[in-house]
């Protein structure tokens, strides 16, 4: 827009600078709004041809002439009260275009009558700024509406996930082997029983096949069905070598067990050896049930994880829209307990133990309980999600809190997925939507919001989030070696917040 401005040649002597040269519009109007005089900038803003100043009425150049009269009256009141001037953004309509000006009006008071003798005004064209502000306001409104809608959609999905989770829980209980004690630890993986169940079915099926000789077979089932059953014995015995990816075996064994059962039920009643058939059907049923249970538990784990992710997403999106929660003092113990409780179900299903070390009950932080709990829950959720199963013992996430030099440090440590030094140094792990280089191994779901949100909450409370990750065992591998990041890492995420009271010492 600077190209549209008239070039102003300044006089050589600064004392000769005239009002005409000022880069803001200046005018004088009579009390009825008739322009008396104006400078070049005002003439340009008001779109007046040279020499026609005397014919212009300032009020009528406004989109709403009454608005100008109101401002002029207010300027007179202000002058009489000794307050000086009236300032507002005025809306001009110049040659059909909308022009916005910052308009400062000052009344020159006729002391004898107490009325306005003249109005002196300053005009600054703020059309571009006004339009940008309007666009920004419209955009903000749109984002708020969108955030509200997304919040509602996610809320509805969370309810659906609750339904799914409860149904899966009921199904998993119904599928549990009868012999299992109710106190069976959640970490016991039913998938580990599948090879044994598969071999059991293979043995019984072999026995049945041996019991029906080749002459009798065609009278019972089509020959292709017998050939297929023979093939299934081989598959049951060799499924671990035929299907190299362990996670894919369960669904195959389930399909196979179901098909074996269905094939035998096709046989005419009494045409197969009764006891051997019953044993095959029982073994097939047990294998199908075990494979289903493994799938149901894996699905439930994914659903609980999805629920936590959706909740974090909803909180993240709607955090700016919601009414700001009043900040208050809160014992660190309570803060940690609530975050641990939020992640408890997910940790239980994932078979990860949350180990909270004793926390000094005197330690306190000051802030929004909802935001701080969400920040820590995000960190804990990541720690559980990125924990690896161990050859011996249950995977764990350790939580500890301490106070040093005016700060509270809540540390969350897990054993499992690495974060590379480069990702930490470049702050990539805190970028919205970023998922760690090694975080997508073993089918982990995620959105890349957790640490971003935790950092935002911590910084809003004058704190920070620190991340470190190192090999869990001594290693001679350089970090450039392709196996370096395939080993388990100890990853520690520390939420640092100012200690309360701010004296730097706990009460």
């Amino acid at each position: 827009m600077s190209g549209d401005r008239p070039r102003v040649l300044l006089p050589e002597d600064p004392r000769d600078v005239h009002l005409l040269h000022l880069p803001m519009g200046i005018f004088v109007a009579d009390p009825d709004g008739q322009l008396v005089v104006c400078n070049e900038t005002a003439r340009r803003i008001l779109g007046l041809p040279e020499g026609e100043v005397a014919n212009a009425r300032i009020g009528e150049l406004h989109a709403d002439p009454a608005w100008y009269r109101e401002r002029a009256r207010a300027a007179l009141d202000a002058a009489l009260a000794g307050d000086g001037f009236e300032k507002a953004v005025g809306h001009l309509r110049i040659g059909g275009d909308d022009v916005y000006v910052e308009e400062i009006l000052r009344a020159v008071v006729d002391q004898s009558s107490g009325s306005a003798a003249a109005i002196v005004g300053c005009l600054v064209d703020v059309t571009a700024e006004h339009e940008a502000a309007e666009q920004s306001r419209a955009l903000r409104l749109k984002v708020e509406e969108l955030a509200f809608d997304i919040g509602r959609v996610l809320h509805a999905n969370t309810s659906t996930l609750l339904m799914v989770n409860q149904t899966l829980e009921a199904v998993s209980q119904a599928l549990q082997p009868v012999s299992s004690a109710p106190s069976t630890p959640a970490s016991e993986d039913p998938a580990e029983r599948l090879p044994e169940l598969a071999r059991s079915l293979a043995r019984r099926l072999e026995r049945l096949l041996a019991a029906v000789d080749s002459e009798r077979r065609p009278t019972v089932l089509p020959l292709e069905a017998w050939a297929h059953l023979e093939e299934q014995v081989a598959m049951l015995n060799e499924h671990e070598t035929r299907i190299p990816v362990p996670e894919l075996r369960g669904s195959t064994l389930r399909t196979l067990a179901s098909a074996v059962g269905a094939a035998l039920r096709e046989a005419p009643l009494g045409s197969l050896p009764r006891e051997a058939t019953r044993e095959v059907l029982r073994a097939a049923d047990e294998l199908q049930r075990g494979a289903c249970l493994a799938q149901v538990l894996a699905t439930r784990q994914a659903v609980v994880q999805m629920d936590t992710t959706l909740r974090a997403l909803r909180d993240f999106i709607t955090s700016d829209v919601r009414t700001r929660e009043t900040r208050k003092r809160m014992p660190v113990q309570q803060w940690v307990r609530e975050a641990v409780a939020q992640i408890g179900e997910f940790a239980k299903i994932a078979g990860v133990a949350l180990q909270t070390q004793a926390i000094d009950p005197e330690l306190e932080v000051f802030g929004s309980e909802r935001e701080l709990v969400r920040a820590l829950a995000n960190v804990l959720h990541n720690a559980v999600k990125y924990s690896w199963r161990r050859e011996q013992g249950q995977p764990w996430v350790a939580i500890a809190a301490s106070a040093t030099s005016g700060s509270i440090h809540v540390e969350v440590e897990n054993w499992g997925v690495p974060i590379s030094a480069d990702e930490i140094a470049r702050g990539l792990v805190f970028e919205l939507g970023y998922r760690g280089k090694w975080s997508t191994d073993r089918g982990r779901l995620g959105t890349g919001i957790g640490l971003t949100d935790a950092l935002r909450a911590a910084r809003a409370h004058g704190g920070d989030v620190l991340v470190s990750s190192r090999p869990a065992r001594l290693t001679t591998l350089p970090d450039t070696h392709r196996d370096y990041h395939r080993q388990p890492f100890l990853t520690r995420v520390t939420l640092r917040l100012p200690l309360f009271p701010p004296s730097g010492r706990p009460r």
Binding site: L248, G250, T255, A298, E431, Y434
Partner: protein
């Protein structure tokens, strides 16, 4: 000898595992998985495959080339669409995508796309590459869908 099929899909091992059951059970083919683009390229360069099934949203894996491409598109598999780039490299031998020449046995009719995107979103990019076997991932698909896709691909041999 059974036909060899490579499924390039990062959710195959967990979320989509049940789709593999009918394929292994019926023994239609030897099915292998590649869960990222680098692993897929390793498989493609070291072996000959009768059919490929590719997802559009894929993580890059360990190869610096694919990692760079991934970074350039915002380190986000949704935007990076590395599966689409992999298919383009395989069909058009685009060195800007990957410097090595693609295997010579690759034919577009042997590549199927199984993805969450709809044909409306990616069809304009897949059609010029000669990709016609396409299936959008939807929640109501039967567990035999992978078997069906493989069947269609193998029928083109």
């Amino acid at each position: 000898m059974k036909p060899k099929v490579l499924w390039i899909e990062d959710g195959a091992r967990y979320e989509l595992a049940s789709l593999c059951g009918p394929v292994f059970y019926k023994g239609l083919c030897d099915l292998a998985l590649a869960e990222d683009v680098s692993t897929a390229v390793d498989h493609l360069e070291s072996d000959r495959w009768d059919a490929l099934i590719v997802d559009i949203r894929l993580p890059p894996g360990v190869s610096p080339h694919w990692r760079r491409l991934y970074r350039l598109t915002g380190s986000d598999k949704v935007n990076a669409q590395l599966g689409l780039k992999l298919v383009e490299w395989l069909v058009r031998a685009t060195p800007e995508i990957y410097p090595d020449a693609p295997p010579r046995w690759v034919r577009p009719e042997r590549i199927g796309v199984f993805t969450v995107e709809s044909w409306r979103e990616v069809g304009d990019q897949l059609k010029p590459l000669g990709i016609e076997i396409f299936q959008q991932k939807l929640a109501n698909l039967p567990d035999t869908i992978l078997e069906e896709i493989i069947g269609k691909l193998l029928a083109t041999r």
